[in-house]
């Protein structure tokens, strides 16, 4: 007669099996996954280090540490990248494009990094992109403004997880024309290189569409990091411009504010600092009331109130004693973009370590959560991110700088559609179809 197993016995066997399995899981050493080595390139010296490079590097550090611990980053429960720990290799971006190309080759060919995240300078990104293609190495640009990377060329191995500069200029033009619908005169003061020229050119083009009766009265192009703007401020003061556009960054922004404020420029005109968010904690209440600040996205004070953003702001401020600014947010976008792409590729590969090509395929057209909201790889055949952008106006309250009248423009309103050049899109009157 066959002995039948009762329910109690089955339950006992099942419980014992679970206990043994758990015991094994606890006592047996976990299979160590090979670390994923990521080269992080940002300015660690020179004038761009303080405002951009170091905050970006710090952002990479806290995110990599939190991801390696696992379960710390809201919405990203797995450890590292699909369980593999992240190992960061830092590199200084200072020294010019020739040096950067050499250093990039070293990172890839000697240090054998699995991927590279980096580059703030537009010049550096334009120089690195073809080399990344040549070396067939996944390279993610976390910053840099030029739209030319994916508008002039097409790359397989190159991605950019931050929006390009067209968004900043179009957003600024939208904000000031809503603020001053009857504007007649505007002016610009920008740095005399690709970033400043592109920013002004897009702003001027957008103003021609949004405020056709307004006239650009002067465009001052200053030497990068010249620091002395006495004559330029005189010209702006006497120009009668109601709005002054500036894409200044770092020390130039701070020097401009320090020199222009006592001369009354901020009272006479509305000054729009498209990158002003990154200096707001340095200058604080020295930034005059009524200044329009942007931060190249929905970052920092403009970032959405999500669990991920609250966590990000808290851990960053606890370690570095200042709130994170846009370079830190942009670095977070890159790291979380890579993590999302890697884990999506891993899932598609049935949990096995994905190949670089599989990660690239997953990265294209990806949408992922970041402290600055959702980022979509919506341009450049899925290699260029698009996000929305916010602008706000400064007001000192009880000695503290606050931002009022914050307006956020959705990504469709400030970025061209796929396949359309930024310049053509603006000149078409921001049409969404080809």
């Amino acid at each position: 007669m066959q002995k039948r197993f009762g329910f109690g016995r089955i339950l006992f066997v099942a419980f014992a099996t679970v206990l043994i399995a758990v015991g094994f899981a606890i006592s047996a050493p976990a299979v160590e996954q090979k670390p994923i080595k990521i080269g992080i390139v940002s300015f660690l010296s020179g004038p761009a280090a303080g405002p951009f490079g170091v905050p970006a590097r710090n952002g990479a550090e806290i995110l990599a540490e939190a991801l390696n611990e696992g379960g710390k980053v809201p919405g990203y429960g797995t450890k590292g990248l699909g369980g593999a720990p992240i190992e960061l290799v830092y590199l200084d971006e200072a020294g010019g494009t020739t040096k950067q190309v050499t250093e990039y080759r070293n990172l890839v060919q000697r240090q054998n990094v699995d991927l590279v995240i980096g580059y703030i300078s537009s010049g550096d990104t334009l120089a690195i992109a073809p080399v990344a293609e040549e070396l067939k190495k996944l390279t993610v640009f976390f910053d840099s403004g030029t739209p030319r990377i994916f508008e002039d060329a097409s790359y397989k191995y190159v991605f950019r997880t931050g929006s390009h500069s067209t968004m900043d200029s179009v957003g600024a033009a939208l904000y000031v024309t809503e603020m001053r619908p009857n504007i007649r005169k505007y002016a610009g003061i920008n740095q005399n290189y690709a970033w400043g020229q592109d920013s002004w050119s897009d702003f001027e083009a957008a103003m021609k569409i949004l405020a056709p009766k307004a006239k650009a009265v002067t465009s001052q192009m200053t030497k990068l990091m010249s620091g002395q703007f006495g004559a330029e401020i005189s010209v702006l003061l006497s120009s009668g411009a109601e709005v002054i556009h500036s894409s200044f960054w770092g020390g130039d922004t701070e020097s401009f504010v320090l020199q222009a404020a006592p001369r009354g420029l901020f009272k006479k005109s509305t000054v729009v600092l498209t990158c002003g968010e990154h200096i707001m904690y340095r200058l604080g209440n020295k930034i005059p009331d009524g200044t329009v600040l942007g931060g190249k996205g929905t970052v920092g004070i403009f970032a959405p109130d999500t669990e991920l953003n609250r966590w990000f702001q808290k851990v960053y401020a606890e370690r570095y004693y200042v709130p994170p600014t846009y370079p830190t947010y942009r670095m977070a976008q890159a790291i979380l973009g890579v993590k999302s792409a890697y884990e999506k590729a891993m899932a598609a590969n049935k949990g096995m370590t994905p190949t670089q090509d599989q990660v690239i395929a997953s990265f294209e057209h990806l949408s992922f959560d970041t402290p600055s909201g959702k980022v979509e790889m919506g341009l450049g055949k899925g290699h260029q991110a698009v996000t929305g952008i916010s602008y706000g106006t400064t007001k000192v309250v009880n000695g503290k700088l606050t931002i009022t009248n914050i307006k956020t423009y959705p990504k469709e309103k400030v970025n061209p559609p796929e396949g359309v050049l930024s310049k053509d899109w603006i000149e078409s009157g921001f049409k969404r179809t080809k």
Partner: protein, 298 residues
């Protein structure tokens, strides 16, 4: 007319800043025949020290007017520490060697000091803006100018006139001119040439630091600020003639006015305007406006 007047005012203000920044460079070259590339770092050290000392002063609630004293004190301290350190510690071992060797030595000092600044103050910017707006503003030529700009003009005038007076009216100045003309003969005549070199380099370092310290309230004090300045200062002293005090003053004035005119009337060429002046001057006066004739040595 108003535009023209403001062009001149802006040009003169910029020139005064340029002169303060460049005069130390030309003094050291004039006496020691050293093109001191470390001048840029001494300027930056002056700015960083001024930001730190001034910040300390204001942070402790001392009278704000005293912050101007802090700017001057920081320049003096930088000059007194760095001048003898560089001259006695390095340059004196290289006297008599080719000018290129001395230039490379000061370039190495420049690189060391740039890194030292980063080690001491980090890469974040510093700011000591209070002295800039403390004395208020004046309306001139239809525009508002901070009084501080005119203080800089006064600092520049006092520096230039003071140096000229010392060189031409004092015994020590006349001895220094003898050293400039022929250091070997001066030594034979009993002039302590090494002491003059030490004093000159210290004063030159102090002047570089004065430039940095009095610039600090107007700008964000950032790493690499000395690089930009050494290029500008070099352009000014080359236009005027290396080693000439009058040349530095005229060079600064020319560069300041041309730059201001380009900003006001043709902003597209601002970047290029300073070097245009330099090229035009050097085409007709290859050794600068106030270079002295040199006897050819066979």
């Amino acid at each position: 007319m108003v535009e023209l007047l403001s062009t001149v005012v802006d040009g003169i203000i910029y020139s005064s800043w340029l002169f303060v920044v460049a005069v130390g460079l030309t003094l050291i070259y004039g006496v020691m025949k050293i093109l001191n590339i470390a001048h840029g770092s001494l300027y930056a050290l002056g700015a960083y020290s001024a930001a730190s000392l001034g910040g300390f002063w204001l942070g402790h609630g001392y009278p704000p007017l005293g912050s101007y004293g802090m700017l001057a004190l920081s320049a003096v301290l930088v000059g007194l520490v760095m001048g003898p350190l560089i001259e006695r510690g390095l340059l004196r071992f290289m006297y008599g060697k080719d000018e290129i060797v001395l230039l490379l030595a000061t370039y190495s000092v420049f690189l060391i000091l740039e890194d030292a600044i980063k080690l001491i103050w980090g890469v974040d910017s510093l700011s000591i803006a209070e002295p800039y707006g403390l004395l208020g503003s004046v309306d001139f030529a239809g525009l508002t100018y901070p009084v501080y700009s005119f203080i800089l003009l006064a600092v520049s005038a006092v520096t230039g006139i003071g140096l000229a007076w010392v060189l031409q009216r004092t015994r020590q100045g006349k001895l220094l001119i003898a050293v400039i003309h022929d250091s070997e003969m001066s030594a034979v005549m009993g002039i302590r040439v090494p002491r003059f070199y030490l004093i000159t380099f210290t004063v030159g370092a102090m002047l570089a630091a004065v430039g940095g310290a009095f610039t600090a309230p107007m700008v964000s004090v950032v790493p690499g600020m000395g690089v930009e300045v050494i290029v500008l200062a070099f352009a000014v002293v080359v236009i005027g003639g290396l080693g000439s005090l009058k040349g530095a003053a005229l060079g600064a004035l020319m560069v300041g006015l041309v730059r201001s005119a380009s900003v006001h009337f043709l902003p597209q060429v601002e970047l290029f305007s300073i070097y245009l002046v330099m090229v035009l001057v050097l085409l007709f006066r290859p050794k600068g406006l106030f270079s002295s004739a040199e006897a050819r040595k066979i």
